[in-house]
Symmetry: C2
């Protein structure tokens, strides 16, 4: 009997799944959808190409000739505060502070056909519907909401490349499904460059949508299949003028005309529905072609069993979540597993089931020996997300580095990605942090590609003289304030990135490159003003900017962080920084001030992307530059303050509520910070193989690694009060330092924190 | 010695070529470039994908906020009357009356860089240059002109898919080559939907241009290679606004920035040049991808020997021209071989060397077992061009029919092409004349595809109820005047097309289809008003339109021809028409009136696309509907008038001068009419295997057929006065009728006309 059971467990995946804990119950995709989190509540699978989610506004409509208000607000398409849903679109960034996407908005309606989305302040003016959170359910891989206006139950789930909808209609002879091809996130008048649709038959359409947005040249191909044949269909073309419309008058192109193209198009599909009749939609995407979209659909989403797709999506999430099993209070579990969910959304899949993808060169490529990914928000994610993936998703992170190298190969600029998505680079934010991700992956043994080629790509990127001050940086050792608005941020981040390149060169035994870049890595010193003890913009003549306010961010040479935060940005040489700043004692006091000061409103207004709750004193956790700062107490002999601060940040900046994130989740960086810190260690300087120890907030955690080994964290005597660490044991041996090595984790073992309520 | 020579001739293509007559000297591409011919003077190879030709204006610039004047005028980009050249672009229609194309305008300049084309009335305002016809040389496959402003000699030639430029510069440290990606023919503000360029290295760029013009969704990919490295390059972006330009400021994108995209872009490339230094450009096109464009270039245009490419282009023309050797006066030879040249330009190649092409569905297809063609101006070319190709280019016409069938297969409308180009249908003009081309090719044994599938496609097209009145036509037997502005033209042309379908059905022994369509073929009777003896618009209630003027075209139910011309449009049943019109005598008088009447100016103004010289009396040769009419005298017992009229048309409507064409050449239809008529026979009703005899204007002609046989036409005692035919012998046997059969030609043989100066 026992033997039989053993075989069952061994051979039956269903049984294995049953063995896993149900962890998706702790995932609350709604967290971060209110205020500044910029997450979306809809359905996706881990690192999936499709993010099918409700949009409450997308700024696709004009209001008195101008586009409606705050584009920034709708980075994820959905705001928890809103009362109406415009429709459900298939692509969304998670937690960004700039945006794009929102492709292919689908909306089911009943009654007289209305082809305008209408305005939030007058929902009756358009096809949008009111909804209430009471009728809303957001789970990992599943979203459900009732559309009040139409009495339609909307359900969403997804495979990797296919969004699957299920709409439960009331009885109607006038039911519609609208496909809005104009709608998009961060939409401007001429953002949609072109759309093309073929109505293949009465239940299948294919086509593409091409945009000029944050990604300059972007095309998404699709195939859309309906579970029920539509009885008729049509389009409304909102193009201002159509050249050569004359000959098109040979047909009535507004109704049942199957060859559709234009810049501003909405389509509709008509149905008769019985009471509670469900109509399903499978909406497949491809970066390459309509045919690939169809192949993706046929491969991933056969048949019309919505619940089976949903179950499969949720199983895929549960499988990922089960890689870390934590013991913690319920709220902590919600925070942790939701963070894990948000971290495992990005980067996203960007190739078809046949391995094809569109490259930066706009050519079609075959991904040989890797899976291609896109959406690299690297200024954010190099810090903790990619290091986290190096532990928990090394195979995927290896593919991500390969995707970055493919980007480099296809780049005529010969640059690694800065902030790339959908075969484009938008060059957002400072630094060239690809090199950090690459160095970290090589040094931690995760990257199995050609490391020398990777080093060459890093060096070429770092020597790209005409990119954002690099030439001056190379010549002068810093970027002068007049030549670049982020002169100090860039100088500091380049210095760190150069250190990463040096580490990589050392690893590959390239002494000349090591020497060159380890020297560049000390360039942070050139923007440090010893007179005031802060990083400070410097002029070309070597003098420091006279008119300078350490609390201010704007026009001071910084981005998303003032000098109070940025002055600590020497993650690769805290010892050198502390020395430069006047020693441990002085720096400890400085850190205390940062966490306890009051940031006046005028300066708070200059911090971007965060709520008032996104800061602690002057420490801005909602933005990334200071994410390592709480750990610096370890270097000034006050590790208990690291422990205390980290626990405070975990508590204050992450809550299991819609407004639970104090700033943009930034493609998982905020979430990765959470997980690292909750587990008791953090990668202060990716590119090194060390993690700084903090204060775990879980009682225990077991990390199931891809190599089959397990790493266990135990926090004995753990509580909200016992945030201090009395002693740390690695595999039973007390640690003398406040660091562990990557190999300590990856080789498996146990890290035991003995917690106490008393500062040491 | 003799034996050696024999082997040389047999084995050496060069020697074979030497054996051929030099006929390209009779080709004057400049014919038709003045006034209404709408031909272009530039370089192309037979049926080539590239038509590299100077543009004297393309309406790509604004004048006081409005686009400059007469778009119609610049269908071919070049007007002989103009004094300036804007540049040399790579795609041109030959002889159309509506337009598109003009992609990738290249212009060499010297001196201060000017990125505006400037205006014709103020050439100094832009990069355009004055030129003079004295310094211009237009040959088959070669074009040369001196650009006066810059003292640059410009030379152009082409392979099938590659335009090859050679510019001879003066000594300069400030020489430029401009690539204008905004410019295009029939250009409107938002016609260029998107452009994308990669500067791969210092002598190669690739990219694409996407337009929304006459072809609604059109993308042309390119690869451009320079024989000399440019020293620097840049772009000027004329986009009104660019979303998200912010992050692009990280680079100076105007100069030496290799990743370029936008809607309105001009690029420049800088050089130092020595006196008389030649810079070459190879510019390859592809309908599919940048990579295919590169492959096309590497396959077809290796190295930098301009003269070799030129020689090869001219050899390919000479090979085609040598298929018909005529004996005729010099002017006649010029007219004939230029007509042959113009006829062998269209349709054009539309697949890459690897066989890929973009289909109507915007998917990439592999052409299996055929070569894909585009540019089907079928309303024009079904009449004489495709029948001519069935005799002289059956392999190509077979592929053209296969291309039309591929279009049908890719069409969600399930329609054969109407007027198609570049993976689009613009549905221009009346009728569905694909069916004529298909029936003619099947009946003449040219089409080797599945004829039953072809018939099914014809039937589906002819039953497409919601296309231009077909539903009403089926129900009522005619299209009523209120429902369609070309109601009579369409009714008449549908009836002829239906007869073609009937013939095809008969050939395939599909009796039911034959019966259905042979009945429809008589629908011409339903728009014939016996009271006035003319075709006349009819109302839905069966009454004829009251307010009707037989001289007028506009709003009378006709297009490009009034009822005087269109009343004869029953090419498939002249006997029935003559009966209906009141008998042979009456019809003969009517024909006489048509050719001798005076068309008052107010009605002439309504005929489109022609000059005053484009009409003879009221007979409009410059448009197509009456192209068969001169041959109808054969059916009313006055064949000598056919002979006389045909000779008069040949003489009056075709001259070896720039303004030598009385109307648009219409993708070779006017030229094919010329060749048929000059050879003494004409396909009055394509879809039948008969040709009506006329009066040959050549002394003799030998047609070398693809099957290895020859067909000889001899016109004994031929002269400008001896235009009448006393007797016709086929292979020495006197003909009793005024017709010959297709098999008479294709089986080889000799047709002898005994000419006389006296009417019979």
């Amino acid at each position: 009997m026992k033997k039989t059971l053993f075989y069952c467990l061994f051979f039956m995946p269903g049984m294995l799944y049953a063995q896993q804990q149900n962890l998706i119950k702790y995932v609350k995709p709604i967290i971060g959808t209110q205020k500044m989190g910029h997450t979306y509540p809809g359905a996706t699978v881990p690192f999936g190409a499709v993010q099918l989610s409700p949009d409450t506004d997308t700024l696709s409509y004009e209001l008195n000739g101008k586009y409606n208000g705050d584009v920034y607000k709708y980075c994820a398409g959905y705001k928890y505060e809103d009362k109406t849903i415009v429709g459900f679109s298939h692509t969304h960034f998670s937690g960004t502070g700039h945006s794009d996407l929102g492709d292919f908005l689908v909306m089911p309606t009943v009654g007289k056909l209305n082809m305008n989305p209408g305005r939030a302040d007058d929902p009756e003016s358009g096809f949008r519907s009111g909804f209430s959170h009471a009728n809303e359910q957001a789970e990992a891989g599943y979203y459900k909401v009732k559309l009040d206006k139409y009495d339609i139950q909307a359900e969403l789930t997804a495979t990797e490349r296919v969004g699957v909808h299920q709409y439960t209609f009331p009885k109607s002879k006038d039911a519609h499904i609208i496909l809005d091809l104009m709608s998009g996130i961060y939409n401007y008048d001429d953002k949609t460059v072109w759309t093309f649709v073929r109505v293949v038959n009465d239940s299948l359409i294919t086509g593409y949508r091409q945009t000029n947005g944050w990604a300059r040249t972007r095309t998404v191909y699709f195939a859309m299949s309906f579970s029920k044949a539509f009885k008729s269909y049509g389009q409304k073309n909102f193009d201002k003028a159509q050249v050569y419309k004359g000959f098109w008058r040979k047909f009535d192109q507004t109704k049942n005309f199957p060859e559709i193209a234009g810049k501003r198009i909405r389509m509709y599909f008509d149905f008769n529905t019985e009471a509670n009749e469900k109509i399903g939609i499978k909406f497949a995407l491809s970066p390459v072609s309509q045919e690939n979209a169809l192949e993706n659909m046929e491969t991933e989403a056969k048949g019309w069993d919505f619940n089976q797709v949903k179950q499969s999506a949720q199983e895929s999430w549960n499988k990922e979540l089960n890689k870390i099993k934590i013991d913690a209070p319920e709220d902590e579990k919600i925070n942790f597993y939701t963070a894990m969910y948000h971290a495992f959304i990005n980067p996203t899949n960007y190739n078809d089931v046949n391995g094809q993808y569109k490259g930066l060169d706009q050519n079609v490529h075959q991904a040989n020996g890797f899976k291609n990914y896109t959406t690299f928000s690297l200024w954010d994610t190099y810090r903790a997300l990619h290091p986290f993936l190096n532990i928990m998703q090394p195979a995927r992170n290896n593919d991500m580095v390969k995707s970055m190298m493919a980007h480099y190969d296809q780049s005529t600029l010969k640059m690694l990605p800065i902030w790339s998505h959908y075969a484009n680079d938008n060059w957002c934010m400072s630094g060239y942090h690809s090199v950090s991700v690459i160095a970290d992956a090589v040094i931690k043994g995760v990257y199995n590609g050609d490391a020398e080629q990777a080093l060459a790509a890093c060096v070429a990127t770092a020597k790209h003289r005409n990119y954002e001050g690099i030439g001056e940086y190379i010549d002068r050792g810093y970027i002068s304030s007049a030549s670049n608005s982020n002169s100090v941020s860039n100088t500091l981040e380049y210095a760190y990135d150069d250190w990463c390149i040096a580490q990589l060169a050392k690893k590959l035994n390239k002494q000349d490159i090591y020497q060159e870049f380890i020297k560049r890595a000390e360039n942070w010193r050139n923007v440090f003003d010893p007179k005031i003890g802060f990083m400070r913009p410097r002029l070309a003549d070597g003098s420091f900017k006279a008119d300078f306010d350490a609390l201010s961010t704007h026009n001071q040479g910084f981005i998303e962080g003032n000098t109070w935060n940025y002055s600590f940005f020497v993650p690769h040489n805290p010892k050198g920084l502390i020395e430069q700043m006047g020693g441990a004692k002085k720096v400890a006091l400085r850190l205390d001030s940062l966490f306890t000061m009051h940031l006046p409103d005028e300066f708070f207004a200059e911090t971007e992307d965060i709520t008032r709750e996104g800061i602690i004193g002057g420490y801005v956790h909602g933005n990334e530059p200071a994410h390592h700062v709480a750990y610096l107490y370890n270097w000034v002999g006050q590790p208990w303050k690291t422990q205390e601060r980290v626990r405070k940040i975990l508590k204050m900046q992450y809550k299991p509520t819609p407004d639970g994130l104090g700033g943009n989740d930034d493609c998982g960086q905020m979430s990765a910070w959470y997980m690292f810190s909750a587990l008791g260690f953090y990668p202060v300087s990716p590119g090194s193989d060390e993690y700084a120890l903090g204060s775990p907030s879980v009682n225990s955690a077991v990390l199931r690694l891809e190599n089959g080994k397990s790493f266990t964290v135990e926090a004995r005597n753990q509580s909200d009060k016992n945030v201090y660490v009395a002693k740390v044991l690695l595999n039973g041996v007390e640690l003398k330092s406040h660091t562990i090595k990557h190999s300590d984790i990856i080789e498996g073992g146990k890290l035991t924190f003995l917690m106490t309520g008393k500062m040491r």
